[in-house]
Subunit: 558 residues, 2 copies
């Protein structure tokens, strides 16, 4: 084969100066703040000036439940963006930034793959434009101000046992999950148990990704609940007067980053909240800016459609006042086979029966997305091991669901491989068929919202939550938080809360382990099962192989 | 008066595009990596291409022992650079980057003041080009890899009680000084006591600031000692295979940053190691690059000349193979009065006797610097409260020491206020009078080096160190570290180790509390007294007043 690797393809890219890429969208050079020659931030004043322009069409790329076989959601997002440009449409891509920490654990983290990538890939997997570092600083400034307040007399009467605000680092470091701070005597404060999460799990990240502008960001930061008093009354970030300084630290991070695909099409890469305890979408400000500048905006959401698309619709679209015109669900023959019960080692052999057995997973995602009033196209992300018969089986299944499945070869062929998909998606988006509505209204009680998601999206029979959790939800309703949407944190591998239950399970219960109020971001997190907010490094971290080669290029990062 | 504040002056600056500033030094546009329109990094390839060019003249700006009255060392560095350009010389400035953490504690942190500032001031006091964040990431990656190694079986047999590598954050956070990590059970590792320092205290910072290039940086990082075994044998960063990935994280941070003064003259702002447990100078790569590009390079060192200039000479110049052609010692009438015993509240009244009583502090610094074979000029940084008689007293004293004192008004007048100083400094630097030699040879035993500094620079009568410390130094000599220079960590406020002993004390002992080996940076740290490597926030942190105003400008940071 002598096939080139992702990194070889990325290094061979003929990047255009970022000003030329911005020019394609009508962004004047003076509105682009350069970070090197191939990255830029879009200036706030220019974004404000876009005000009343009409929006382009919004296309969400989501996927079936992920398997170790891979689906290629980001690759398809990039490929579709390039495909739309290829057929003469003015299209931009909106994706999330990568987290630095995990890059030193397992290989990976590239933005797309093959001939459907966003570049500069190395920068995007390292510090990029510093956004995550700014979030780390803002988050930890607030943490320092909490302990400092307690140290100097605790006028707010913070209960040291009820400080909920932890610290963050963009690093996989299990040793920091659970720590005791302020040891060493009087001058170091009052010892207490706390810990670090990874930066993408920070509520500051979620606030930044949902904020309309810097003013809204400061409002959200001020609303964050950081601790409680002995009487259980909340202490807000605003009470500590930290919101102004945090906003200053985030003023550049709030501006969307512009880069390009291998085919020199514009891509906004901005924000990256966790897809479990947060909503898993790129920033609202990037998506809105792209919608003002392009006729078609292709974006993605984290995990499978049961989590990612559901949160995109119920949290991001609701908050941002935007609506998708079409949804693409990505599937691979390999992943459908795994959903159909095939082990990873046996994926190479043709197995039409297994593909058919896995299709109900896809079918349920199609039906779920349609229930939001949005038309669906299935993209089959082609692997060389796929057979004609397997592909035909998927097509037939999807047609029987009243949708259509289109084979895409963007990994190997770039935009030439997504012409058919792009043409169909543009037709649907232009048709005005979409009649988007969120799944539940703001005024529905919190527990009923959870039940609605569990029953209508997961096809569960019931939500299991003890009295303490139900009481907590009612307390938040009484405190004025009842209008918030729900952010579900459960396994990405199944519609159920059991990661081994592939396919389309029914009749399962959804046990709620814990609920958390993200009052700044503006949602109630419902935790079903174990959620890890600080990863560890593996036995042999990829960091051991990462280094600069003689030419000064980065080796081992991908 | 209606005098403008530093920030008002900085905001009114007419900045030139950074490419124009680089062009003044002959840096081609393609060799500048822009960070916004007013900051850039200088590319590695261009720096390498400068190879055999002759060096310009190097001028060090240092100061008398600092007092709360202020000396204006950075302001004078900037003013002198502008003054040299004003009189037609091609001059560049090299100063340190500011640390983010302290900016949220006390006001300040500006780069210079009045009409002698470097801009963009706000960026420089916030994330700037991300160098410190990169250092934080590299440092903490190594920390995570140490605990991860222990977690997965500890093949290197690290003694968990003897892990010397802590973690860092660029934040004033006393709660993190002393912590216990890895609580919470088996999956989080082995609990142990450790802590965080502020990023500028990281040995990674010292390595970056002393490294000649990326290859040398990786070598130094690999040499860092992170822990010991039960048999006291050292574990190096290299043993954990972390040096390659750390170098990748630092590849952009290693490139010097170019900005400009208010008068559009070039300024390299790069690196910022602590001036106590590290050497307190800007990066070697920035200074060397500036020397290749400019005819005169004005740089500064941390604290007073007893610490800053001594380390500049004995550590930075020795390691980098550079030598100063002239030294400027900055003094103010106010600070001399405080050295002469006047309280801060009484500084406004004329007091020639107090000025004369304080002059011996200046006199000793003059003699010390001359002992390195370098000619000295004193710059009197003018305050409006200074009287003619007070200035005359300083002039007379300095002349009696065989040097000269020149009054400078750069704070009020910019380069017009340093014409006389610049003219005289250029004359001296051009004269070739300097015959620089470090204070002690590499081969001198470590304890004798400490005694040499204590007796010749501090005028102490003896060094007090118990047997354990002397044995430790001998062990390091046996292990091959005897050639390293000494990095003294003592109070900046006095020649002695007692911060209240102003003036020019003699006959004092220098008690050594602890010695540390910075095998990566390449020096032995000798700690005399309490050294704080993680500051705390004050009762009312300045962060409470920091915010964006209606125009989007930062308020409260300065």
């Amino acid at each position: 084969m002598n096939q080139k690797s992702d990194i070889e393809i990325a290094r061979a890219a003929r990047k255009k100066p970022i000003q030329e890429v911005g020019d394609r969208l009508g962004i004047p050079t003076e509105a682009l703040i350069p970070y090197g020659h191939d990255k830029a931030k879009v200036g706030q004043a220019f974004i404000r000036s876009l005000g009343e322009r009409p929006d382009g069409k919004l296309i969400l790329v989501t996927a079936i439940n992920p398997t170790p076989a891979g689906e290629g959601k980001t690759t398809t997002t990039v490929g579709l963006g390039d495909g739309l440009n290829r057929i003469g449409r003015k299209a931009a891509i909106c994706i999330r930034e990568a987290s630095l920490g995990p890059c030193f654990g397992m290989k990976g983290g590239a933005a797309g793959g093959g001939h459907a990538q966003v570049v500069p890939m190395e920068d995007m997997n390292l510090h990029f434009t510093g956004d995550f570092h700014a979030i780390t600083s803002a988050h930890n400034l607030l943490a320092a101000m909490i302990d400092n307040h307690i140290y100097w007399g605790n006028a707010l009467e913070i209960d040291e046992r009820r400080v909920t605000w932890r610290r963050v680092l963009d690093m996989n470091d299990r040793a920091l999950r659970d720590i005791v701070t302020s040891l060493g005597g009087v001058s170091n404060g009052f010892p207490r148990q706390t810990g670090f999460d990874i930066t993408v799990a920070s509520e500051v990240m979620a606030c930044l990704c949902l904020a309309a502008d810097l003013e809204d960001l400061q409002e959200r930061l001020g609303n964050i609940i950081v601790a409680y008093r002995r009487d259980r009354s909340p202490i807000y970030c605003r009470d500590l007067k930290a919101d102004g300084a945090m906003t200053v630290l985030l003023k550049d991070a709030m501006q969307p980053n512009l880069v390009q695909t291998l085919e020199n099409n514009p891509a906004f890469v901005h924000g990256g909240p966790f897809a479990n305890i947060a909503h898993g979408c790129n920033s609202v400000i990037a998506t809105r800016t792209a919608l003002k500048l392009a006729d078609y905006v292709v974006t993605e959401a984290g995990f499978g459609a049961d989590l990612g698309a559901e949160k995109f619709m119920n949290i991001k679209c609701r908050k941002a006042g935007i609506a998708p015109d079409a949804v693409v669900i990505v599937a691979t023959i390999r992943a459908l086979k795994m959903n159909g019960g095939v082990a990873r080692a046996d994926l190479g052999a043709e197995n039409v029966a297994a593909v058919e057995a896995g299709c109900p997973n896809l079918g349920r995602h199609i039906a779920n997305v349609k229930s939001f009033g949005v038309p669906v196209v299935v993209a089959i992300n082609h692997f060389t091991s796929d057979t004609e018969a397997e592909i035909a089986a998927v097509r037939a299944y999807v047609e029987a669901q009243g949708s259509e499945a289109i084979l895409c070869t963007h990994w190997a062929d770039g935009s030439a491989g997504t012409e058919a998909l792009a043409t169909r998606v543009a037709e649907i988006a232009d048709s005005g068929r979409a009649q988007f509505a969120p799944l539940y209204p703001d005024e529905m009680p919190l527990f009923a919202k959870i039940e609605t998601i569990a029953k209508r999206i997961y096809h569960a029979s019931e939500v299991l939550a003890d009295q303490k959790i139900r009481d907590q939800l009612r307390q938040w309703e009484a405190a004025g938080y009842g209008h918030l949407p729900i952010c579900m944190a459960k396994t990405q591998y199944s519609f159920s809360t059991d990661p081994t239950r592939r396919g389309a399970p029914t009749g399962h219960g959804v046990p709620v382990r814990e609920v958390r109020l993200s009052a700044g971001a503006g949602f109630v997190v419902v935790i079903c099962g174990e959620i890890m907010t600080m990863p560890g490094l593996p036995r042999v971290p990829s960091a051991e192989e990462i280094g600069l080669n003689a030419a000064g290029d980065v080796e081992g990062l991908f």
